[in-house]
């Protein structure tokens, strides 16, 4: 259930098992199965479907019923580019006491071209392509956070999965 901290290259090389829903495993790691991940990178591409101009509660409701509003962006951490999908409609029908749409809206506003983001989410497959279905988005202002994240990934890979030094590259 944990969000495995991974580099994009590692994530893009996971083995997809054709179960339903598909399951994922990391090569040369034990335990190898992962479902969630956390990556950190820079937004190099951003696409809103449909065009995401002004998100209001009314439009969110309309979208929920009629269309699938989502934010699609590519996160580049220097080792690869990971496609990320941020759904802007709540998974459940919204109620008055649920602030989820606002939280999603705040998160969507954080996704801007060139921004360094820390993204957590589920690993999914869409049309044969691996992607992250985003759970939350966090802006990392400090560029040194990228170095820290890389080292943290190495540390966890080494300590948690027992990778040898050679495997770490």
């Amino acid at each position: 259930m944990t969000h495995a901290k991974l580099l994009a290259a590692e994530l893009l090389s996971v083995i997809v098992h054709p179960t339903s829903p598909p399951s994922f495993s990391l090569p040369r790691r034990c335990p190898s199965s992962i479902t969630r991940t956390e990556i950190l990178g820079i937004v190099v591409s951003l696409e809103a479907k449909p065009r995401f101009l002004k998100f209001t509660w009314a439009s969110a409701q309309a979208c929920h019923l009629l269309d699938s509003p989502l934010l699609k962006f590519l996160l580049d951490d220097g080792t690869g580019c990971v496609p990320c999908i941020l759904w802007l409609n709540p998974r459940l029908p919204p109620s008055d006491h649920d602030p989820t749409p606002e939280i999603l809206r705040l998160q969507a506003r954080r996704v801007r071209l060139g921004e360094q983001l820390r993204v957590r989410g589920r690993i999914t497959v869409y049309r044969g392509m691996l992607q992250i279905t985003v759970g939350d988005v966090l802006v990392e202002k400090d560029p040194n956070m990228e170095t820290f994240h890389r080292l943290d990934c190495l540390r966890i890979a080494k300590r948690c999965y027992g990778l040898a030094k050679d495997d770490l590259g």
Binding site: I103, K141, D142
Partner: protein, 1249 residues
Amino acid sequence: METLGSFSLSDLLRLSRPVTGTASLNPASSPPLKRIKLDQNLLLNPSLSRKSFTPISLPVLLVGTVNFFSEASSHRTGSCLNHCLSFSDSSATICCYIVDFDPRVIGQEIHVMAWNYLPIKQGEGQGVLEIIQWRFSSPDTAPLRGFSLSLESAQDSGVKASSFAFGLVKSVSLTFTLPIENGKTGEMGDSVGFLAELLTCMCDKCAKMRPSNEKSGLHRFTESKVVYFIRPTHKWRPVVAKLVGKVMYLWGLKKRLVVVGKESYVMLVSTIKTKVSLCDSVVSDLPTDHSKRGAYRGIVTGIYLHGAVIELDKKVWLLIHDTLLVPHHSLRIGATVSVRDFHFVHANFAWTKVIIVGTCVMTSFCIDSFAVSDTKVLVKTEEKSALGTFVESLNLSAKFWILLSVSCFKYKFRAVLSDKELLGSINSAGLVQTYSSRSLPPDVFRPHNSMFMAYCNHDQCTYSSGHDQSKCKLIVPLSNFVGRCEELWISIQSEMSESDEVHCNNTCDGISYPGYRRRIIPSDDFGCILMGNIQACSSSGRLQLVDATGNIDVVIPDLPSDLSVQTIYEVKDYKVVLEGFGIEGDNSMYEFGEPLSCHAIFKRQTYRKRIHGLMLYVQFYLKDSVCLASPSRAPSNLPHSENHGPNHLLVISHKFPLTNKFPFNSAMSICSSLFAEALIFPCKFKRSENGELIQLGKFQDALDFSKRDHKKASEKGPWLAPCSLASRNGGVSATTLCQFNVDSSNYMVSKSLARILLEFKCENFFSYQMLRIGGYYFLNCSEGFNPTRVCKCWEKGGSFVVTGNTLQSLSLSFSDDVNQKEPSGTSSDELVLLKSLSELHEIVDLKSVSQGITKLLPPSQVLSVSSCLQHMFHQNRNLYGSTDLGEQRLAQGDLISVCGDVEYFHDNDCDSVSLTASKCLKIPNPRGNNICIHLADDNQMVVIRGNLSRKLFPIGFGVGASATFHRLLLTCSSNRKEKLLLTPVTYIEITSVRKVKTNRGPNQQMFKVDSLIESLCHLPPLGLFSDLHNKDSKVTRFCCRILTLNVLVLESCMIGSSPAYKIPLAGFVLDDGSALCNCWTDNDLASTLLSLRDICSSFFSSDFSSLERAPKRLLASGLCHCSDDYSNYKNTVGYYLDHILKKHHKVIVKNHGVSLDICQDLLFHSGSGKVFSILEERLLNYIILSSCHGPTFIATGLVMDASATKQFDAYISESAVLRGCMQNIWIREVACVDPLKDAFNLILDLKNG
């Protein structure tokens, strides 16, 4: 003892070389006099310079008599009349000028002890002797005589001359000629003479001509009298001019009424009986008002335009009022001069400020010491021209400007225009005069008076002390302009370095590259006017503005097809773009020496471009520029296109760029060509006799229409479509027989069109620059029109050499133009380099034809970056890759066109893909670099790689440029990743450029190891949740984030009289990437993790309407009260929590949900048993959701054992157990991640472990 030689003047004249001599090389000795012969070596040795004084190695003495020039003197010039005395011995007579002048020297024989000799005109036996030191030849008697001037030969004539004058000489005019008419006899004649103003004393003794010599204080020189020295006394002028400020007697004058025009003046006129003597015993200073006219003494540092402009001390500009005053023989660079009674102006020109000193008729000008290095004698040779008269009619500052302009014009256009065309002649005005009279404001002109009038009315002179001449701009020589731009660039670099902008680098693939800078400077900041011919450079193919001094790259968005390369254009309104990467190193190595200073312009200092990394170009519109006269000697334009064959209508489908093969050596450029590809429309046009363009031929293929919405379905076959076309040579109308081959999508099938290659030789590079991809043009085929014969242009794969005027741009208006940006350029940050095609296509309506023509090409021919990415994604990757071609691999893919903004570009020598591509495509790489271009639109970015030499960059290419890349290769690399590659045929079109912004986050700092090591403190290593089961109970640091909440207990309390809250227990699920863990904490730490102290404005100020009302509704429900003490606090989440707890006393939130992604299964328990309102539930939900999306933090905690966790069992739901969180920790401390410190800590950890 050394022998003292004696020279005769004829010896000197024979020398024809500047020489200097002295009577004694050893000051203490006094050798005997002996005549010597000139050294043959001195006469014949050609190695001795004529440009400097040759010292005579022997001590020599010149002996001669100083006197006035006689009227019969053969070489009497204006200059000699005003300044020179004669020096003669038995052999010859020459001009002389004496530094320490004593008026008693006139008529006396002197010994010249130290002197310079300068030949005036070589071979004509004229020269000037500059006497530095002299003595009377009979020292015992000469000094005893007083100074007196008279025409002794005429003293006994019967002329009555009873008037006299006694006074202080105030000023002396130049010698001038005045046509006169004798009032009594009516005789006409010319009067040559000069005026002198005397200040006389009005005391009785003076009136009786018995001035008291004893006490000078008795005299008060106040009354002004003018004495007119006419022929023959006019030759006294060199002596009288030296007596300014001294008191003198004048006898033998006549009082006359002189009438000039409508004015009449009473003045004393000299006669042949006039006698002048000096009164040494009476000394008086000139009155104080006189000194207001000023006196200046300085060293001559420059003499320009035949002595019309003199630079003193490198700061003051002396304008000579009339060229009669100069040339003064001794006025040379290095001489010390004194100027009295001048006009003084601070002129503020548009580009600089200068101090101008202007002489007038009253100005006295004398040489205090001679120049020793410069030997160039100024000679007045030219007659007064129309330009000279024009210049004299201007005020001082305008006069200075026009003299500067004369210098600029001559400097700039000496190669293409003759002096007569530039400066005019006696009767006709040249280019400088016509240009200046148009440019100068009317208030700079002043009435021009004769010298007599000007002298007499001098007090009414209208010179003012300051002039704002900001309308006068410098017609800058282009080499000086380039120098100024480079100077600016260096200063910009220095400024940026000081402001720390230099560190704002860009990164690509983790490698940092230097920042790119661009500055757009408007013409007003330069205060200069650009002038020159517009030509396409034969070596680079670029458009340039050219003059004789240099050239500068230009961009003209409204470039017409009928531009004459011989015409001189004046560009007042322009923008200069300076761009490039930052210069590393010392900027002080570049010395420019003020390229736009008047000194540099007059001196014609040349500059050449020195900074290689700087891209420098000028953008202007031709409609804002003025076309000046074409030079007459330039060849006329080529014969008009009417004589040529039929006109083809064609659309440019591609322009081939310069390649690396292109010779950068201009000498080799003749054999080079540029190419463009065009599609010819299947119709023929011909210009009729009255200039109309008539469509003649039919379309080649008779095809069916698939759509005929606008026509009746019954009609078939060719149909007549009236159309009007316009070329820049005037509107033309035609009736076109049109029939289009359209496919199902209503696009014309381009296969049916002939494709033609246009070749441009170097003399027609200009036509190549004018072409636009997607633009429509008429091609005048050289073949004669034959309706029965098919033109060669129709042959598939044919080529056509473009010459002269064979291409004319055509204006078409399309209402449904796609891919065209809105007309921009209004923003001050953006500079348009190319007009959009829709702006070019103006006026003409080509309704029926345009429906076919617009749809000739696919609508999305040029992709945006976003659509390019889509295209890349959807393309079948199997089509791409590479094909074996013998030993080499050839990249395969589609050619596409992409437009976007260049975000950054840099050299990328290590990119293997582009290296492979360049190798595969056989790109010669002598100078080319692998570059990486980041092209972006609002949302997306693509990277284009390839091989491109910096010399081939189109003008404007750089960061912030809006560019269209035509024919990029979309291919796939070995790892099946799509790549965009530059190919040798990729043409880059720059539409506009923007100022480069420097975005730098306020808190961002780059990774600096030095400071890191200094600040590093010994932190305990970070632990992992997955290791907890192996660990003993000890405090460990974890880097983790909140995943979800287990339980939250909130209770109300009172702090003083205010309601508050406390958190007895909070349980979270934490995730550090290795495992999950239950963590427990309370009060302050819980409050931190829940971000209760954070301002929740982002939440409440959202545009979600119900939440905007939330505070009001809370107020209304009594939950909220306003207090100034809480002004900050009431914006926090905790503030609202206080009021919820006031109602419920205690709130317990439990999470029963299994899913980690949503918190939909939170259960709320109220301590008071009251029901939660929607808003209250909403706020609690918000608090918990926000904390679950919080940042990474460092939690320091202690592992709890089983007994300790038992007390929390009640709070841990079954779902939490299902999540697999078996470990429990108690959090003791929470801190933000310090990425620098913690990263270093991790490095040590990884290294050690």
